[in-house]
Symmetry: C3
Subunit: 138 residues, 3 copies
Amino acid sequence: MKQSVHQLEISTRGQGLYEFTATANAWVEEQKMHTGLLTVFCRHTSASLLIQENADPAVRSDIQAYFGRLAPEDGPYDHDSEGQDDMPAHLKTALTQVQLSIPVVNGRIVLGTWQGIYLFEHRVRPHRREIQFHLIGD
Amino acid sequence: MKQSVHQLEISTRGQGLYEFTATANAWVEEQKMHTGLLTVFCRHTSASLLIQENADPAVRSDIQAYFGRLAPEDGPYDHDSEGQDDMPAHLKTALTQVQLSIPVVNGRIVLGTWQGIYLFEHRVRPHRREIQFHLIGD
Amino acid sequence: MKQSVHQLEISTRGQGLYEFTATANAWVEEQKMHTGLLTVFCRHTSASLLIQENADPAVRSDIQAYFGRLAPEDGPYDHDSEGQDDMPAHLKTALTQVQLSIPVVNGRIVLGTWQGIYLFEHRVRPHRREIQFHLIGD
């Protein structure tokens, strides 16, 4: 049994879903483990992780618009010192998650056919986001 | 230290919560590990996982009705090619999660007294859902 | 490779976010592992876990108020035998999560600068909540 860790950085240019499925797949394959567990952890409170459909791009724009309506910028928030998009960003992060774990079977993460892994950026301005990978297995 | 994997298939007959706590418990006990970590992963983008109360059935019907109101079928969605229930299904999946990990202590997953593990089906038509189990421990 | 487990109990005095980052950090450091994976599991269906900003307290009160609006006490619920705050508590738990896993790198969990780990209590009356820690690594 062994472990591997890796930190990925993703530069975001505004709100939206940034896919990194190929990067995760490639890194896992390089570790040469047959069976294991990949954990992906987002080190932020205003960006989160999502596994969602990687086919029709309208699914992603619908998701982004939906969360914009669910946690609007003009809500009755006390925390407003970091910009109008900051408190909604914390709420969208709370409604999704900052951690995902995916089993590895036969050397590959077991994503379904239509599943992609996305960083969900909730801030308007560009950010550099740190994503920690952890893999345990053999 | 060792690992076990298993793929469970659940046939759904419409929206709702399908419990598989007993199946998870039985599979973990068969693996004969004293301490470990069970990960359950749902390989879909329109069905998700939930740990919820397994006592009063009204809790489950209230949860289903609530998510129906929170992500309604008549929302302003661009993605509508796969049926009126498809985009709300993606949103309900995003609001819950497709992965759960539960520690194993003394040979059993440490669910609380009132916790059951459910597949949360968000599509109206019957589906066959694939759930991947991964267990690591000793 | 080795494992450690520990059960933490948190006494809550009403709805709100109860931080236990320092407890998690201290316990992980005591286990003397260089690399690993910490899993935190909440054994309840009316309290959940959240990683959120640990700087401005207004973020926490805004989060609490937001979830109060999103899952209000006066909703059309069938399950009302355990108090008006019980069904909203189940919904808030479903919208967040009862499990978090955080990689351990160089002997410490890789929380970002602004991330704290919180128990999110959704019930009004005092409760004693059980949180299971599981650590695997070497």
